[in-house]
């Protein structure tokens, strides 16, 4: 009887101990916000329009080994013109752009890279990633994120950061994160200490019922927020970003924290982009998305065009992601 009473009392005593956990304070909030607000709103959406036009006029690459399926039009994947566009954009900003060619056979990956050197810890690299391959016009998936990354890269050159920022546009994400997997497995990410990955960030809707749930995880009913996704390694960063966006008015976010490193069966939906292998390798990474097919009815369809996006939503999201980069890279006053 005594054992039962002890167990019962212990269980009951723990009920009132249930508590929430506050977001950690940001030390350099003013500098982080200054960088976020350096994002030029008028610069972002034209990049999406240009990228989408390039994809629509490009020749699809070989889909050998990847037969088309519903929401996977593998015979419509383009990237060649986007590789040149991103490399040229980096060069125009004053970066030395590099194209890392990986793999062989019908699907060689062309990852475009540019670095901004850190002033205190240059050997510690923060990866800022988007993928440049797209089905059809790919305005949301993934012109929106490539445009955000390029605008962050442009703004970064007016600031100093403790760590090196490596901007990268991965290739062949749509064929199963092929470009990022090859990049990581070839050892190119061995110096990466953390990562900020973005994929489909430009579609919003104010209609009730416009946002679906994902694998049992309940999202708000209206799809007008940026999803900020972390795992246990980046839980505090996810909290900081959500808190900053909430208190500063940067934009509307919903933060999600996956259990462990995120690679469990029921949380695997949150690994669906180039951060997946980083999570698997226990590299801290945070992921930004508008929810893809849980929200955007044009996902992987010919109708994924710039006119379906919300330009102001995309600008707000770019600022939130810029703030995250500033936190991770250690923006200097």
């Amino acid at each position: 009887m005594k054992a039962f009473h002890i167990a019962a009392c212990l269980g009951l005593a723990l009920v009132p101990l249930s508590c929430t956990k506050d977001a950690p304070e940001l030390d350099d909030r003013a500098a982080v916000l200054a960088f976020a607000n350096a994002i030029a709103g008028e610069e972002v959406f034209p990049l999406v329009e240009q990228l989408s036009a390039l994809h629509l006029n490009d020749t699809p690459i070989s889909n050998e080994g990847f037969p088309p399926a519903e929401l996977f039009p593998s015979d419509q994947l383009t990237r060649t013109a986007a590789v040149g566009f991103v490399a040229n954009a980096f060069a125009q900003m004053g970066y030395t752009a590099d194209t890392v060619v990986l793999g062989s056979g019908p699907q060689v990956a062309y990852n475009v890279v540019a670095e901004y050197r850190g002033v205190l810890y240059p050997n510690e690299v923060v990866l800022v990633a988007s993928h440049l391959d797209a089905f059809y016009g790919g305005a949301d998936d993934n012109g929106s994120a490539v445009a955000a990354m390029l605008e962050i890269a442009r703004a970064a050159r007016h600031f100093r950061f403790a760590r090196t920022i490596r901007f990268i546009s991965f290739d062949l994400e749509e064929f199963g994160a092929v470009g990022s997997t090859r990049y990581i497995e070839a050892g190119h990410a061995d110096d990466v200490t953390s990562a900020v990955v973005m994929d489909v960030i430009g579609y919003a809707s104010s209609e009730p019922g416009s946002q679906d749930n994902a694998m049992g995880v309940n999202f708000p009913d209206v799809g007008d927020f940026l999803c900020v996704v972390g795992n246990q390694d980046t839980a505090e960063l996810t909290q900081q970003v959500v808190a900053l966006a909430h208190t500063s008015g940067l934009g509307k976010t919903v933060g999600v924290v996956a259990p462990g490193n995120g690679n469990y069966f029921l949380s695997s939906i949150f690994m669906r982009s180039d951060h997946g292998l980083l999570w698997y390798n226990n590299t801290p990474a945070i992921f930004f998305t508008d929810g893809a097919n849980t929200r955007n009815p044009h996902y992987h369809l010919p109708s994924d065009l710039p006119e379906t996006l919300d330009p102001q939503f995309l600008v707000r999201n770019t600022r939130i992601i810029a703030a995250t980069v500033a936190i991770q890279a250690g923006i200097q006053p």
Binding site: A7, L14, T20, F270
Partner: protein
């Protein structure tokens, strides 16, 4: 408050029952499944649990157990339950229970960046329609519990098979 009242009632009933008749202890092991979904916390998985049941009088049963579930991180539950059991070989039971959900889960942060409450306490009912008992112990299949918790949480717990041995 309602949670505290329910717990107090369960303990009072246990005290009344155990004061009048000899008690029978039955450690048990069970295969379990859990699905808890709320606006901010999703916990789920399948796993195993260990516990101890107390039978007192003709119709009183109380249980406490610890369970671990996999599929969405390593989630653990601690549970306290008490209720009515039919006497005889076929001994179905209905119990009120309080469970605490710990460990692995997918969280949707609160609007200001706070992480949702942990552990999550849920309160509900559990039925054991296929429970059979004799003087050596008991076997119970498909015990099913439904409970409510914070953030509009709904929790389904299933004990696929539980086997207890009378001490």
């Amino acid at each position: 408050m309602s949670r505290t009242i329910l717990i107090a009632c369960l303990l009072f009933a246990a005290a009344q029952a155990t004061a009048q008749t000899p008690m029978r202890w039955m450690p048990y092991v069970q295969q379990t499944g859990l699905y808890h979904s709320s606006e901010h916390v999703t916990s789920s998985g399948v796993g195993i649990g260990l516990g101890v049941a107390l039978r007192a009088g003709e119709h009183f049963v109380a249980q406490t157990d610890c369970n671990i579930h996999w599929l969405n991180g390593n989630a653990a539950t601690t549970r306290l339950a008490a209720g009515y059991v039919r006497s005889g070989t076929w001994a179905p039971a209905i119990l009120g229970n309080v469970s605490l959900l710990w460990g692995g889960r997918t969280e949707v942060l609160l609007e200001d960046g706070r992480r949702p409450v942990s552990p999550v306490a849920v309160v509900g009912l559990r039925i054991a329609p296929l429970r059979f008992e004799n003087d050596k112990g008991y076997v119970s299949a498909l015990e099913t519990g439904f409970a409510l918790g914070p953030y509009k949480g709904r929790c389904l717990e299933v004990s696929i098979l539980a086997v207890g041995i009378r001490l």
